[in-house]
Amino acid sequence: MTPSHTQGPAAERNRASAARSGLPDSTARAVILTVNGDRRTVADGATIADLLRELDLDPRMIVVEHNGEILRRDASAPSPALRPGDIVELVHFVGGG
């Protein structure tokens, strides 16, 4: 699933509807989180690695801070799962003095 902005009336209606029905449809099972200050949704069960793939970001070029914790770039370590309300910061080097 491609992450998408979930602000706006349509998204609110979907969430409200899903909450009322309790159905395990795709909207209800989406995880809402904050990525670089913006609200986004990812599929239930998505990991940080999934998020980076979806955003077309090269993990070697960025540092990920997940709920205030800096993730180590250890390819052998399992990528953390994303949970509702998570705060993710995707950071890199830019020009500066």
């Binding site: 670089n36 540092v63 993730l71 770039r73 995707l90 080097f93 830019v94 020009g95 500066g96 003095g97």
Partner: protein
């Protein structure tokens, strides 16, 4: 059997490498990577400067323009030593957070530590930078601490474990040059760790005058990037730093208030 003979000229221009935290650099000029009109111009200017250490800033990836690549796409990291800064941080906690994120990028454990106190002048927070230096040095960072041209703060930074101290020549991006040569000279005289003057150098004569105070090096960004021709200014800065360094090592003649002729007083025609 012929042995290699070093010429007197070579001997007289020899200089020890700049050594910071056990790492040696041949160039005493460090440059930033910000404010260039293009990345091609940045690359050419950095190459012309002869710098081995280049600074970078830590920022969010712009997710709306993901093709706006990391600066690393434009820098040969096998050629340059990356020095991440904490520019834009106004608290100890933020500066430490940015430093830790930079270290997690995996290049080195160095940080150019900035804790800024005032938006108008971008002057550093002396209390905050000492505190952040102590925290980060305790975590194994090699801290190069950006500070005022104040001796006591510089001494406190050395006590706190800074690998180097970076007093300003004048405010960041001001190009006002070396405002207090005495203060910089005094800091260099009293500290054991390297002193790298950072910020305010506007042109090659500023770089030369700064190096003449005996400091170990200079870090600059805007002085090169904001020149009409950054590549040529980078060359001028490299030569200015070299000239100032040699002048310092040579030891200047004493200043005196009277004229002394260079030509003989005797042998004048009758």
């Amino acid at each position: 059997m012929v042995t290699a003979v070093t010429s007197l000229a070579e001997l007289s221009t020899a200089d020890a490498p700049l050594t910071i935290a056990g790492r040696e650099f041949r160039s005493r000029l460090m440059v930033g990577t910000g404010k260039y009109a293009s990345t091609a111009l940045m690359r050419d200017a950095i190459a012309a400067s002869g710098a081995e250490v280049v600074t970078v800033a830590v920022r969010r990836v712009d997710l709306d323009r993901t093709k706006d690549e990391s600066i690393l796409a434009h820098l040969d990291t096998s050629r340059y030593f990356l020095l991440a800064n904490t520019a834009g941080c106004y608290s100890v906690a933020d500066a430490c957070r940015y430093a830790r994120i930079a270290r997690a990028a995996g290049f080195n454990e160095w940080v150019k530590l900035e804790v800024i106190a005032d938006e108008a002048t971008l002057l550093p927070d002396p209390v905050g930078v000492v505190e952040a230096t102590r925290i980060l040095a305790g975590e194994g960072f090699q801290v190069l601490a950006y500070t005022n041209d104040d001796l006591i703060t510089a001494l406190r930074l050395e006590d706190a474990g800074a690998a180097g101290v970076m007093p300003l020549a004048s405010p960041i991006g001001s190009g006002l040059g070396l405002l207090n040569p005495y203060a910089i000279r005094t800091i260099k005289h009293r500290l054991s760790v390297p002193v790298i003057v950072d910020a305010g150098v506007g042109t090659a004569s500023d770089a030369c005058l700064t190096m003449e105070q005996g400091v170990d090096g200079i870090l600059m960004n805007t002085g090169v990037a904001a020149a009409q021709d950054p590549v040529r200014m980078a060359t001028a800065m490299r030569l200015g730093v070299d000239a100032g360094r040699h002048a310092f090592l040579a030891g200047r003649m004493p200043r005196r208030e009277v004229a002394v002729p260079s030509s003989p007083r005797t042998g004048m025609l009758g």
